[in-house]
């Protein structure tokens, strides 16, 4: 099986990222779930690059006009959109949690004023 230089470049990049992933795992910078998720992602990416020709055939068999690499780009775009959307929702939940914490702290320190009621119309500043 011969690889084009583009495939080789892509595989090198994937190997670099996978190496970084193992390093992060060893240093316990990421948890098991996250490690598995990214490992699956990079493995699928590497397999897709290695088997680009069969992927072309699969794309044609599915009746799509694009070739394999284009299909990969379309899928990558879809996944990215989904991840950004998920992240926005996650961020919205975090913002909500932060608001709740801020409110709890503010209410904990709140106390009624000890200032006397206003007697005149003059500004009490």
């Amino acid at each position: 099986m011969f690889f084009s230089w583009q495939q080789i470049a892509a595989l090198i990049v994937i190997i670099l990222f996978a190496g970084k992933l193992f390093k992060q795992k060893r240093k316990k910078q990421i948890n098991g779930n996250e490690f598995s998720l990214w490992l699956i992602f990079w493995t699928i990416s590497a397999l897709a690059i290695i088997f680009l020709k069969p992927l072309d055939k699969l794309t044609t068999a599915l009746g799509l006009s694009a070739n394999g690499i284009n299909l990969l780009f379309y899928l990558a775009s879809l996944i990215l959109f989904y991840l950004v959307f998920k992240m926005r929702l996650h961020l919205a939940r975090l913002e909500q949690d932060l608001t709740v914490l801020t409110r709890q702290e503010a209410l904990r320190q709140a106390s009624p004023s000890k200032n006397p009621p206003l007697k005149t119309d003059s500004d009490s500043k």
Partner: protein, 218 residues
Amino acid sequence: MKIACVIPAYNEAKNIGPVLKKVLPLVDELIVVDDCSSDETNLIAKKYPVTVIRHPINRGQGAALQTGNEYALKNGADIILHFDADNQFKAEEIPIVLAPLIAGEAEAVFGSRFLGKANFPPLKRYLIMPLARQLNRWLGIKTSDPQSGFRALKKEIWQQITIYNRGMAHCSEILFKTVKTGCILKEVPIHVTYHHFGQKLSGGFRIIKDLLLQKLSN
């Protein structure tokens, strides 16, 4: 009947004093929620006989109102009124907003700038407000003012409402949730003096985005 007024304030050092002075004689308790102002809003508010609650982080007007509501409900308020700190609403209209609640004619009263003679900037009158009103109609809200911030509700209604939108989308959220309680809702005319434009067109789109995100994240 204890009437509490919640005033959210963010960098309103210039306006907060006069507003407090005018509102104080009209309510039983005044709660200022300082949303982490970087100016002297907090110091000025503390000179008055009001409860000042300070958010350690800026969380937006909706969040400040919910904080004020929680404090007021915990301290025995029967009616909670929302009023702005920017001196755009008229304090002398507070009794008009409260009257239907005190008389038992309504459980929620919203001030409407469209029933009064508010001097809207053209973009706001002819584009933003009609769009907001249309959006509200899709949500089943038929009030004349889609974004009124001058409102008073009985405690029984507030107890059923939690404001999640911390930005300006809270106005639509409160209206929507009030309608959903099935309470008797009334609109009264109010007058507003605009010192600055307020909401821009982009702000309107942000409100729609915030409402959608809030719906999806819950």
